[in-house]
């Protein structure tokens, strides 16, 4: 037996309806409130990350113009921007935010299985954000060692923030990992053990599959970051030499000796590469659902999509050293990691084909969430293709540490997941708030963001090809950089500022629509999955009223041939629909 039958398990759930403001909105154990706390906090710190990027873009586009950006600041902005966006924004938003909101609603559960731990998770996350912000205000400021925090640079004199800045950064990461682990245990256990009757694993929407696998990756990969952070912290604070080699710093011989900086890189990227998929897999899942709902078609190749998620999850642990081709490795390792990197492109490409085939002959509604979802296919394909260049050792050597790399990873794991985040927020906004967002503003937001990011990152590939190195405060006068590249830098900065300003439209839309938006129907997109079938919108504590839902079909019954409506919700039994999609064969 693949599944274990239980009688109605609803009575196992504890229900304590919160009654005071504090228990309802602050120390809430309701997954929906926690999701919004996680999401709000992540978006807040993400906006800080965006402001930091605007600052250093100003310096890059118009060097020697702004006095308030000196080299130290510049490095601090770049480093913190990277760390915020990858860990504190995207990981927290996808898993803490969407994971919390969607898992119980989409699998038909009343809440996460460990609500108290779930609440602890968000508060510990808030603490980690606080420590991160504090690092800007301590003597010496935040760390400026780059988001990868490579030793010996990160704890040697001369780098900004080597006193308290790096210590707070590492502590904040460790605290974040504790928060993530508490949340992650919840997400995994809820998906495995708390689904409603009839919700088999293969009837789950792909959003849940993506978040589920990403959580498993996170639980197994974040320990690598924890281990490297603890050891680096010890090197810094009590003078061990785990990573620190014998060296001179600021003209003096240091106490360190014999450590291996490459060991840190191995540990860091052993976390760092799965991290890419921790961000990407939830985006893959969510975008599959958006495309299917707004194209009124079942997702193409559902089973392939699930298997691709599993394959990507498994392979993501054996590609990490492709970030380290220039760090000095046995050449055979390079060959191995280049091969695995190309292999992981196969399931990923398969997903892209399936998204495009889902759109094929669909009844496409170009609403805001759909625009973002289709935009994602473009940016993700684009960023994925440049990844094939960088995955090859011979091509990576000249391109490494140029703006080509920056353009690549911003397209593939910056812009693409963020487009999905926006699409998902618009898509579920009616369910979360009970109001519709403003469609016109949403479309403006999409087009300005989408075209803005292209005008920012396409030219960046070009200056990368010219060999312009990343992380430089100012290039000065160089022979290999033609005048046009300097002009391009200025234009990219203007694009970046436009994108940043565009996000005001987004914020205006979601805040003003809270009060002024049209009252939303419980299921405005006529979608099939369970979260749209709650008795109340927004769903109340406990989600489902008196009775848990019972599921009779998968989540993708759109435009079933012969069916009366163009969608059949998951809770509709087979007996109530006369015609079905049995192998696509007409009976």
């Amino acid at each position: 037996m693949a599944y274990v039958s239980f009688a109605d398990r609803d009575h196992e759930q504890e229900h304590h309806d919160p009654d005071t403001f504090i228990t309802k909105y602050v120390y809430s154990q309701d997954h929906k409130v926690i999701a919004i706390q996680y999401g709000g906090l992540a978006i807040f710190i993400g906006l800080v990350g965006m402001l930091l990027s605007s600052m250093f873009r100003l310096q890059l586009g118009f060097p020697e113009t702004f006095d308030f950006i000196n080299p130290e600041n510049y490095y601090q902005f770049v480093s913190t921007h990277g760390m915020i966006m990858v860990v504190y924004l995207l990981t927290a938003l996808f898993l803490g935010g969407f994971g919390n909101y969607l898992i119980p609603l989409q699998v038909g559960s009343r809440d996460m299985v460990f609500p108290f731990m779930n609440m602890l998770s968000v508060w510990v996350y808030a603490l980690s954000v606080l420590i991160l912000i504090a690092s800007f205000f301590v003597p010496g400021g935040a760390t400026g060692a780059g988001w990868t925090l490579y030793p010996p640079q990160s704890i040697s004199p001369g780098t900004p923030g080597t006193d308290l800045g790096i210590v707070l950064m590492l502590v904040s990461l460790a605290v974040f990992i504790v928060a993530f682990t508490m949340g992650g245990l919840n997400y995994v256990t809820t998906v495995l053990q708390a689904r409603c009757k009839g919700m088999t694993l293969m009837r789950m929407p792909l959003s849940v599959w993506g978040i589920f696998m990403a959580t498993i990756l996170g639980l197994l990969a974040f320990p690598a970051l924890l281990v490297s952070a603890i050891m680096l912290l010890l090197d810094k604070l009590i003078g061990t030499s785990f990573f620190m080699p014998a060296m001179m710093a600021a003209g003096e011989v240091t106490e360190y000796g014999g450590g291996s900086p490459v060991l840190f890189q191995h540990l860091f990227w052993f976390f760092g590469h799965p991290e890419v998929y921790i961000v990407a897999l939830p985006a893959f899942g969510i975008v599959s659902d958006l495309l299917s709902v707004h194209a009124r078609k079942n997702i193409f190749g559902y089973r392939m999509m699930v298997w691709a998620i599993l394959a990507i999850g498994g392979l993501s642990f054996i590609v990490w050293a492709h970030h380290m081709y220039v760090s000095g490795m046995n050449p055979y390792f390079g060959f191995f990691f280049a091969t695995t990197t190309l292999i992981i492109a196969v399931p990923t490409a398969l997903k892209v084909y399936n998204w495009v085939l889902t759109l094929w002959q669909g009844n496409i509604h170009l609403r805001t969430p759909m625009l973002f979802a289709i935009g994602f296919i473009f940016t993700f394909t684009h960023g994925g293709l440049t990844g094939l260049f960088l995955g090859n050792v011979t091509l990576d050597l000249p391109l490494s540490d140029t703006y080509f790399v920056v353009a690549h990873f911003h397209m593939v794991m910056g812009v693409s997941p963020v487009l999905v985040v926006f699409g998902a927020i618009y898509h579920w906004y009616p369910k979360m708030t009970g109001r519709m967002y403003n469609e016109t503003l949403g479309k403006w937001h999409f087009w300005l963001t989408f075209l803005g990011t292209y005008s920012l990152y396409l030219p960046m590939h070009y200056i990368g090809f010219l060999g312009v190195p990343r992380r430089y405060y100012a290039m000065g006068n160089t022979d290999f950089m033609p005048e046009s590249a300097v002009t391009l830098n200025a234009s990219m900065t203007i694009s970046a500022l436009i994108i940043a300003a565009t996000q005001v439209i987004f914020l205006y839309n979601i805040f003003v629509s809270l009060k002024k938006g049209e009252i939303a129907d419980g299921n405005p997109w006529k979608a099939t999955s369970l979260e749209w079938l709650t008795p109340d919108t927004p769903p109340k504590h406990g989600n489902w009223g008196h009775e848990l839902p019972v599921v009779h079909r998968w989540a993708y019954d759109y435009a079933v041939p012969g069916a009366e409506d163009d969608y059949t919700p998951q809770t509709v039994p087979a007996s109530e629909v006369s015609v079905g999609r049995d192998h696509g064969i007409d009976h």
Partner: protein, 220 residues
């Protein structure tokens, strides 16, 4: 990184193999009324058990990564092996006893034998505390002969690994303290049975981790 890779390979392979088995023969687009009767959980176990097993995978990943880092750092020429205090042998025996007593208490709790649960829990906890005290004494012995963490990476790893293991032990003791309090304030074995069962698994896990770590420290 081979050790980590092997462990994570086993964990990931198990997860993916299990998930694949759930999905291979299913065609979710076909309405299958047999699926309609399927409900709730994928694994025949309490949700807390599933949560604990998941956490053990995370903790195993942490220790495997430390062990990988240890073996990689060991290859650098400045590595001077540390002579571990003999006290560690005694500590190991105490931890083994703690695990055995916990298991004995677990059996008693399952049978509903209240009379054995109370002393069993208390002794298991006391032995664990004794183990932790022993570890701290071992630290003191090393400090007394001048083997500080910063002197050599082998020393650094010794303090680090024992500290991380000890912290996990402390986390276990916190759960232990809660169920022990309950038992001493008159609650029956039934109310703490699950907690005791899960703690037993956790104690065995940490014993296994300690034996692996101790073996590695001794042999290098």
């Amino acid at each position: 990184m081979y050790i980590t890779l092997i462990l994570l390979g086993v964990i990931m392979a198990t997860i993916i193999w299990w998930l694949l088995r759930q999905t291979l023969s299913v065609q979710p687009w076909v309405s299958q009324t047999v699926d309609d009767e399927v409900s709730g959980a994928s694994i025949d176990a309490n949700k807390k058990t599933v949560g604990l097993i998941t956490f053990l995978a995370v903790a195993a990943s942490v220790f495997a990564l430390f062990i990988s880092a240890y073996t990689i750092r060991m290859e650098e020429p400045d590595w001077r092996p540390l002579t571990e205090p003999t006290l560690l042998w005694a500590n190991t025996i105490v931890l083994i006893l703690a695990s055995i007593v916990y298991h004995w208490t677990r059996n008693a709790a399952i049978k509903g034998n209240d009379a054995r649960v109370k002393p069993g829990l208390t002794i298991a906890g006391a032995l664990t505390v004794l183990f932790l005290i022993g570890q701290v004494v071992a630290w003191q012995e090393l400090r007394a002969i001048g083997a500080y963490a910063a002197n050599n990476p082998a020393n650094g790893f010794f303090y680090l690994l024992t500290a991380v293991h000890g912290l996990h032990m402390l986390g276990g003791l916190w759960v232990w303290a809660r169920s022990t309090m309950k038992v001493w304030t008159g609650a029956g074995a039934d109310s703490v049975r699950l907690s005791i069962e899960l703690c037993t698994v956790y104690w065995h896990f940490l014993l296994l981790v300690w034996i692996v770590l101790f073996g590695m420290l001794l042999s290098t």
